[in-house]
């Protein structure tokens, strides 16, 4: 029974990993921008949920109606006015990557600094639906279950959008080959901005969900940026389903490793898995070709 609960724990956490990796994949896989400030949108979503809940008792899920559009617009502006000018300026891909990493690293400090000044450094958390739910005999917290369901719904919706719509086709084409895409009249700059903005919006949603069951402070962003990066590299840059799978796999490996080997080794297992993937399938676990 405990083993089943361990697996369940892994799956619940893994769903969240999958979601944040999807968002990063939109930014890195489609818009081709390595955004080190990616996690700051999660921080923003978490703080929004927290304050809405503490000040006005607004349901955290409802707070997404505010934080998600704000994150979308904010990320769009960042892409449009901070990052895309770099494309024009950079002589080649390496310079562009170095430039974006520098700029977004600066952004990370700006956002974190703003949060610190505004809300201080202390940990924040609120209690929301922290009630036990019986799931096939195992006990899980309702907030975690809700967050998982929301994450999976969001992820599947995104997956469907990319797979089955005209817009999704264009985004996938950009992810594969932006030069070829623009030569079939895909407006690559505009759709890249859209993908980048959507990635940020997803992260804000993830922040809301995470804040329902974890405490956080102003420095939480980078933790999730790194987590997402690991999952994206494992799942394959530009591969959406691969990222979902890799997220679940990582969550499972963490939970099972903690239970079967030692909880203190979770990080080690995490990185061992990551290195193994890099060595065996550097193109990503679930990438074709």
């Amino acid at each position: 029974m405990i083993l089943f609960e361990v697996v369940l724990s892994g799956v619940l956490v893994g769903g969240m990993y999958g979601l944040i990796a999807l968002g990063l994949n939109l930014q890195y896989g489609i818009a081709r921008m390595m955004n080190l400030a990616y996690g700051e949108a999660l921080m923003g979503g978490a703080y929004t949920a927290f304050w809405f809940f503490m000040l006005w008792r607004i349901d955290p899920l409802a707070s997404m109606l505010f934080s998600v559009p704000v994150a979308f617009c904010g990320n769009w502006l960042i892409y449009r006015y901070l990052l895309s000018p770099l494309i024009r300026r950079a002589a080649n891909q390496e310079i562009l990557e170095a430039d974006t990493i520098l700029v977004t690293f600066g952004l990370l400090f700006v956002f974190q600094g703003l949060a610190l000044v505004q809300w201080g450094g202390e940990y924040r958390g609120y209690t929301y639906l922290a009630v036990p739910i019986d799931l096939l005999g195992a006990t899980v917290a309702l907030n975690r279950l809700m967050a998982f369901v929301a994450a999976v719904v969001l992820a599947l919706a995104l997956y469907w959008l990319l797979r089955s719509t005209r817009l999704g086709g264009a985004l996938r084409a950009i992810a594969i080959d932006p030069v070829a895409a623009q030569l079939v009249a895909v407006d690559v700059p505009r759709l890249s901005a859209l993908a980048f903005a959507a990635g940020g919006a997803i992260m804000a949603a993830a922040g809301t969900l995470v804040s329902m069951f974890l405490s956080f402070n102003a420095s939480i962003g980078i933790v999730y940026t790194l987590k997402a990066l690991i999952v994206v590299i494992m799942g394959g840059v530009g591969r959406m389903l691969g990222c979902l799978m890799a997220g679940l796999l990582l969550g499972l490996a963490e939970a099972l490793g903690a239970y079967l080997v030692d909880p203190g080794l979770t990080l080690a297992i995490n990185f061992a898995l990551f290195l193994l993937v890099l060595l065996v399938r550097p193109q990503g676990l679930f990438s074709r070709g």
């Binding site: 005209r166 086709g169 084409a173 079939v184 009249a185 895909v186 700059p189 591969r239 070709g289």
Partner: protein, 244 residues
């Protein structure tokens, strides 16, 4: 419509650092004609195509389609102006199936269609380039030749008036070459204007109304295929050590 050429290039120039890849290049392409662009490797042919499609920015000159300037437009707008191309080094989208590859062209392209409508058309198009059997294979699974067909089909799916082919016939065996030549001829007969970069002289002779020869970024000869291909200067450029 104007009576002038469909595509008119004038004084087109581009240099990469110190290298003058295209210099003061002029070319007129009449409607419904096939113009051959030949010249040794590195003479700037592909660069001309890249400049026309807006993939890279020109240093100077003018490119008019139907009298309207298109130089300086982003690539996706050039495509919407109804210019399509294939690549010397094929660029199919490897993660997508043949059908999806072509569908992208139809869904965006110059006259975007609704997905249902597009899907129907795509099957006819795949049939025409001989890809029906491979419709559900991913780009990465296809052979080189089939990837070239996918590229052509994708270009056609955007519904261009002007088609730019970059060594599309290279690497075909004699039988495939005949099929390829036939296909291009048929496309032209249906009203397409074509510029083709080609090394296969047999195809040039069979298809082109007009041939221009580039060397070191500049135009060195132009005229009917037979006269140009028999020009001793052209032969020297091709065989000699000019562009080593």
């Amino acid at each position: 419509m104007t009576a002038g050429p469909l595509l008119a290039i004038q004084g087109l120039s581009k240099s990469f650092g110190g290298l003058q890849a295209v210099r003061d290049f002029d070319l007129d392409v009449p409607e419904r004609s096939i113009v051959g662009l030949i010249g040794p490797n590195g003479s700037g042919k592909t660069t001309v195509l890249n400049l026309v499609t807006g993939e890279i920015a020109a240093d100077g000159g003018s490119v008019r389609l139907d009298g309207r300037e298109i130089l300086g437009r982003p690539a996706f707008r050039v495509c919407r102006a109804r210019i399509a191309r294939t690549f010397q080094l094929v660029r199919v989208l490897p993660g997508m199936t043949t059908r999806e590859n072509v569908l992208i062209g139809r869904l965006f392209g110059s006259a975007p269609a609704t997905p249902e409508h597009a899907r129907k058309e795509i099957d006819a198009l795949l049939d025409r380039v001989g890809l029906s059997d491979l419709a559900d294979q991913t780009g990465a699974q296809l052979t080189y030749i089939d990837q070239k067909r996918v590229e052509l089909a994708r270009a056609l799916a955007t519904q261009p008036r002007l088609l730019l082919l970059d060594e599309w016939l290279a690497g075909l065996n004699p039988r495939e070459l005949q099929i390829g030549i036939e296909l291009i001829r048929r496309i032209r007969d249906e009203g397409m204007t074509i510029v083709m970069i080609e090394h296969v002289m047999e195809a040039i002779r069979a298809l082109c109304d007009h041939v221009v020869v580039m060397s070191a970024g500049g135009l060195i000869a132009a005229g009917a295929p037979d006269s140009v291909l028999n020009d001793p200067e052209v032969a020297r450029v091709y065989l000699g050590d000019d562009d080593a």
